[in-house]
Amino acid sequence: MSDHKTMTLTLIVWRQKNATVPGKFETYTAKNITSHHSFLEMLDCVNEDLIAAGKEPIVFDHDCREGICGMCSQVINGAPHGGQDRTTVCQLHMRKFKDGDTIYIEPWRARAFPIIKDLIVDRAALDTIIQAGGYTSCHTGGVPDGNAILIPKPIAEEATDAAECIGCGACVAGCPNGAAMLFTSAKVSQLALLPQGRAEAATRVKNMTAAMSQCGFGNCTNHYECMAACPKGINVKFIARMNREFIKAQFA
């Protein structure tokens, strides 16, 4: 908490009224920003100024502001979530920027994520992928004791690594092909690793990857940008695992 200097920044922000009209960049100035502002708090301040001036504030998705809900979604200077390792925009702080910086702020861009307004996009396609098979078909009640199925610690840990995905869609935004492979593979892998999920592994991987294409996501050409953009550090090894599951499923 040492420095009390404030910064002034130039923001070049994508503004788009709704899904049907084309958008464009507008320039704003963010004043009196300290290094302790979070990125979203910086935008809050800009918005307060805009409202005071009778202008429409910039809208952006956010909710938990602690990096777990996956709601926040902004591309900052070309990097989904701003490019800080394992950090969502809401956890990004202004100490990463310098006084006088120019910052480009854009929404996720992908065919499967149509823009709703300004920085807000429609990520329903990710839900559609999960609905295609991202579950075990167990009933409420009538399941065996939790300890009836033993799961070795390393397997449980690896499944948890995959399960950490917050569904933010930064992988899609970062992928030059707009592919949802990392997201899909995280769920496929989590459930494929666990014995509870094995029974449906073959149909799951087929249905989820089919849904992925139907939603308009691109195909993977192994750029690995998704992994770099992912705020939860989901590893592309899960894409390899999903590919493996897919091949296995052809013989199932």
Partner: protein, 229 residues
């Protein structure tokens, strides 16, 4: 059918055909390196050896290779077009962390390779580019027989600076294509994990580099006058 229409299925076809071509490229390089004399009779002997195989095998091999190339090209174009559509507009600022020039330009390095192959086949297989040096027309004695002078054709070809440049350029394309393609194959087939993946990236680039160096050595040593006909 579902396999061929699915995203991963088509990827796998790309990977398998691509990788089969990599294998061919490796064997082809080994064969071509006979030009440096490790085989008694040099490249002429090697070519003769290949040509004396039963016809069905030769034709079969060529058909398979042709099919590979066709499948690879067809799906390569299809997937690339789809992927362009996946992200319809670019960001104002380009920022990449993991993607490389090679990975982003597979379609272009691939296209260059395709064009090169056409040229290369016309040059050395159908021998229509410079008919006067065509091996089939210029027979030379080898052991007790007369065989096509492949060595003469290759050496004469690469004496031409333009031809050497075309080949060298194509080898750069090959290097780029494979520096991404080889590790990509393992990832696509699911034969990689978090520990092996970064190693495979290095391994792929290494193999690509070896192929590149191996291939360019031939025209370069010829044009430099080190390797003579």
């Amino acid at each position: 059918m579902q396999f061929i229409s699915s995203s991963i299925g088509r990827k796998i076809l790309m990977a398998v055909t691509g990788q089969a071509m990599v294998l061919f490229a490796i064997i082809h390089l080994l064969g071509n390196s006979s030009i440096f004399g490790w085989l008694n009779g040099g490249i002429n002997a090697y070519a003769e050896h290949l040509h004396s195989m039963p016809l069905p095998i030769i034709i079969g091999f060529r058909l398979v290779l042709l099919a590979m190339v066709c499948v690879h090209i067809w799906f390569g174009i299809q997937l690339t077009l789809e992927n362009r559509g996946g992200r319809p507009s670019d960001y104002a600022v380009k920022f990449t962390q993991k993607a490389s020039f090679a990975s982003e330009n597979m379609i272009w390095t691939g296209t260059l390779l395709g064009l090169f192959l056409l040229y290369h086949l016309a040059h050395f297989t159908f021998q229509v580019i410079s008919p006067e040096t065509a091996a089939l027309k210029n027979l030379v004695p080898l052991h007790d027989a007369m065989v096509p002078n492949v060595l003469g054709m290759v050496v004469a070809g690469f004496k031409n600076i333009l031809v050497t440049l075309i080949y060298s350029g194509a080898m750069v394309a090959l290097f780029l294509h494979l520096s991404h393609g080889i590790q990509s194959f393992f990832q696509t087939m699911g034969w990689s994990c978090d520990k092996s993946q970064p190693l495979l990236v290095k391994f792929g680039s290494l193999v690509a580099l070896v192929l590149f160096l191996g291939y360019v050595t031939i025209p370069l040593t010829i044009i430099a006058g080190i390797l003579k006909g």
